[in-house]
Every structure is written in C-alpha cells, then in structure tokens.
C-alpha cells in the first residue's frame, strides 16, 4: 500500500532522522556528506517501499542504504588515496541502529561547537537533528532563504575542516559543552513560537529538542530545566489568542485554556532538576513560568516570588531582557512608579533600542501611573516595533 509506505517513511524520517544522521556523521565527520547520503536513502525508500513493502526495521534499512551511498562516495575518492583501512572500519558498523548508542547528543554538541557561529547554531540543530528544510528555518529566523542555506553550508564545512568530534562525549564533555547547546535550543523555540505557521509546528520541534537534551543528559539540571520551561511556554501558547485571533496578554489569559498535561509534565521535570541541587537560569525561568501556572489553582499570581526569581536571574545573567521582565514584576509588587524607574534603567541599554516588549511594558505601566503623555509615546513605539499584526492591533485599541 503506497500510502502506508509513505507514512512509514515519514514516520521513520520524523523519529529517526537525527539518530541516523548522528550515526553516519560519527563515522565520517562530514555532516553535509551524511545528509546527502541520508536524503538519497529516504528517496530510495519512497521508491522501493510502496512496491516491495515496508521493511521490518525501516531505520536499519535506511541506515544500510545511506551507508552504502557514503561508501560509494568514499570509494570514488579512495582511488586517489589509500583509505582502505578507513573504509573497512566504516563498513564494520552493525546494521541495526537500536543496537547502537544514541549519538544525537554528539550531534547537538557539534551544532554548538565554537567553530559554528552562534547565530547559526539553532538553525543547524533544526536542520541536522530534525531534518527541516533551510527555507522553513529561514522564515522563522527572519533571514533570506539563500543566506540561511549559505550559513548552514558554511557551518558544516567549518565543522568538517576543524575536525569537530561527532563521537559520543563523556560526562565531563557534556557538562562543559551543554551550556552552549541549551541557549540554541531556546533560540529555536523563540523563533518557532513567533512563527505560528503550520499550527506552531516549529515551536513543537524545538520543544522536542529540549526534551531530547533532557533525556540524553539526565544529570544536567539545566537541560531538564529548559525542557520544563519550554513545556510551560508551550502549554500557555494557545491561550495567547482568542477565538477571533486577537492577542491576549498573559495577565488576561484564561487558565482553563492552558494545557494542564504539559504543565504537569513541566512541574515534574522542574522538581527532578531542582533535586540535583544546581540551580541555573533555565530552572529559574521555568520557576517563573511555574509561578504563573499556579494561577490556575490559586486564582492569583505570587508576584513577590516572581520578583525574587528575576532578581536571581538578573544577578546571574545581567541580561537586559531579564531586566525588563523584572521591572514588570517589580511594578506588581511595589507599584508602577517603581517599575517605570527600573524600566528606564533597562532602556539605557543600547541593545534594547528596538526591543518591542520594553516599549509595550513602558506604555502599560505609564498608563497605570497616570503619566498619559509618556504612555502614548511609548505605545506609539511599541506599535511601530510590533511584528505580529495581532499585537499591533491590541496596542492600537488601547489608545
């Protein structure tokens, strides 16, 4: 049945892409060549499976086919070099991926290698671990598709040329290198959450990456903390729009529209992370999200707790974005004047000149403080900087 064969190929692609690519790259060290070979294998599957039936172990079939392509490529090049021992080593891999360790963590770590420019890390993960097209990734990151494709090619070439390791890392290597991976996963989620195409599919993919990190590095509380954070954000995301597609800010969201199952999973993960006794920025951010989620049960938000968490976050990161969020929490605890003063401090950071949430927060707090002219000017800036038409509309209706 062709339809079933196509579905089987698609399922294998979704679940197995990163695992298969990691295995192929682990031996060759050349991501681009591994991608080409795997792409050929998927194309071959779509040609063969509808005719011959789906193999018992689709992933093993794909791995064998891809490895054959890679070997063909190496053989062609091997006429110019004495690569026979290398070829034999590659060919000695067992056929069934299930009998092999999961190399995807190595793949994720490679994507955050110092050889890869930071802005290319999240896009590279989405491509090599999940198999997403460069053009799809480009839209989410607001980059021209040709430029994104070039960046990805350059990143893979740099990885190959610097001989980046795709071997399975030891526990120390994970501890040292994971901190570069997590912000890239977070960036992938942020890009996905701002891009509601395909029902927010990209945000879902990034969440899957975070879960993968947590599952592959269970002793790293920040990995688990990030998964908890993204689960909380993803649980809330649908409530950010009403039935007519209008923007609904967090404070006005109906907790009944939050995804209770995702929130429960987030809470579980956050407890696991906390039990390891090494707090960090992702755990604190997850705890902030958790405090907001508690409104479902308590009917109110514990802003004093939120402020304490943002104090810790600000001290740890010095991030101007955290400073904005902290100012908003401060306004809830100490009044809008105090919040505005903190926002003015944050606004002096040149990196925030075009940061829309800063101006939206300023507009809201100034309005509450009765500073009408200031509120109108800030609202105007927030409208002018909005990308989301629903947010723009929401702000314009406040006038």
């Amino acid at each position: 049945m062709p339809h079933d064969a196509r579905r089987a190929a698609e399922r294998a692609a979704r679940e197995g892409y990163g695992r298969l690519l990691a295995l192929l790259a682990a031996r060759g060290g050349d991501l681009a060549a591994a991608e080409d070979a795997l792409g050929d294998a998927f194309a071959a599957a779509l040609a063969h499976w509808p005719r011959d039936g789906v193999p018992d172990r689709p992933e093993a079939w794909l791995l064998t086919a891809a490895r054959r392509r890679l070997l063909d490529g190496h053989r062609r090049r091997a006429t110019h070099s004495l690569a026979a021992p290398d070829l034999l080593r590659r060919a000695a891999l067992p056929d069934d991926p299930a009998t092999l360790p999961d190399h995807r963590l190595a793949l994720l770590l490679a994507c955050a290698d110092p050889a890869v420019e930071p802005a290319a890390r999240a896009p590279l993960m989405l491509q090599v671990v999940l198999g997403l097209e460069a053009s799809r990734i480009a839209s989410a990151f607001l980059v021209a598709p040709s430029a994104m494709a070039q960046r990805l090619v350059r990143a893979k070439r740099r990885l190959r040329d610097t001989g980046a390791a795709f071997a399975l890392p030891g526990p120390e290597a994970i501890t040292v290198r994971l901190p570069a991976v997590l912000p890239a996963v977070y960036a992938a989620y942020a890009a996905g959450a701002a891009d509601p195409a395909d029902g927010g599919a990209l945000a879902g993919e990034a969440l899957w990456l975070a879960r993968l990190c947590a599952a592959l590095a269970p002793k790293e509380p920040e990995a688990t903390g990030l998964a908890a954070l993204l689960l909380h954000l993803e649980a809330r995301r649908p409530a950010g729009r009403d039935a007519a597609g209008n923007y609904v800010p967090l404070s006005a969201q109906d907790p009944a529209r939050w995804d209770a199952a995702r929130q429960a999973e987030a809470e579980r993960l956050l407890r696991d992370a906390a039990a390891l006794g090494r707090p960090g920025r992702h755990q604190w951010e997850a705890a902030v999200a958790s405090a907001h989620a508690a409104r479902r049960v308590t009917g109110r938000t514990d802003w004093a707790a939120v402020l304490t968490l943002y104090d810790a976050l600000l001290a740890a990161t010095g991030s101007p974005v955290v400073a904005v969020n902290r100012a908003v929490a401060l306004a809830e605890v100490a009044g809008p004047q105090a919040g505005l003063a903190a926002l003015e401090d944050a606004a002096s950071d040149a990196r925030l000149t075009a940061y829309q949430p800063l101006w939206a927060a300023r507009a809201a707090l100034a309005a509450r403080a009765g500073r009408t002219a200031e509120a109108a000017a800030a609202r105007q800036r927030a409208i002018g900087l909005a990308t989301d038409p629903a947010v723009r509309r929401f702000l314009m209706e406040q006038r």
Partner: protein
C-alpha cells in the same frame, strides 16, 4: 548599507477598507515611521498615489518617444510606497521589513542599494 523596503499591496482591497480601517492602517504606518526615526535609520519614505495614475515612458533607439497609461505591470499587488533605511546588513533590513504594517496586508520587497562611490 542602505536598503529600500518596497510595499506591494492589493489596491482593490485597500479601496474596500472602511474609513476606520484606513485610519487604523495610517496610524500603524505613522508609528512604524516613528520607530524608524527613533532608531536613527530612516533615510526616506513616501506613499505613492494609485498605480493607474502612472504614465509609462519609453524612448526608442530612433528617438521616438512612447507614452502609455499605467500601471506598469498588470498584477493585483502594486507598489504603494517605500521606506529607505540605513542598516548594518540584510538580516537587519529583513527584521525591519517584518515590522512594516505593509508586510501584514501585502508584501514588502527588501532591496539593498549599491554602495554610492566615494
């Protein structure tokens, strides 16, 4: 670098908007222009009158002028206005294009300018 953000929109859809909707759209454009100015990157920007008011001018190799009524292209979306901005790179230009209200009701074409010599 400088980039031109060219706003292509469906004139018929624009004409069908209610007066309040037009006023809202104008307000959004005003806020956007203001944000470009505040960011210190605005180098110019104007709204064009409707494309059917255009005249098309060519002069043949023999020197014979030819003047036709517009629009230039028989497409639904027509160039309705532009912003000229000064940005570090194409990525930044695309970010600003995404904030342009025209991106929500039409298409914003981002075209980098040649560097002026000297």
């Amino acid at each position: 670098m400088q980039a031109m953000l060219m706003i292509h929109g469906d004139t018929a859809r624009w004409n069908a908007l209610s007066p309040e909707a037009v006023q809202g759209a104008m307000g959004a454009y005003m806020a956007y222009s203001e944000s470009l100015r505040q960011a210190g990157i605005m180098r110019g920007g104007e709204r064009l009158r409707p494309a059917p008011e255009a005249a098309l001018v060519r002069v043949g190799a023999d020197g014979a002028p030819q003047v036709l009524d517009g629009p230039y292209a028989e497409t639904k979306e027509q160039l309705g206005g532009y912003f000229l901005i000064e940005v570090p790179d194409m990525d930044a230009a695309i970010q600003w294009a995404a904030r342009c209200p025209g991106a929500a009701h039409g298409t914003v074409e981002v075209r980098p300018l040649w560097d002026s010599p000297g």
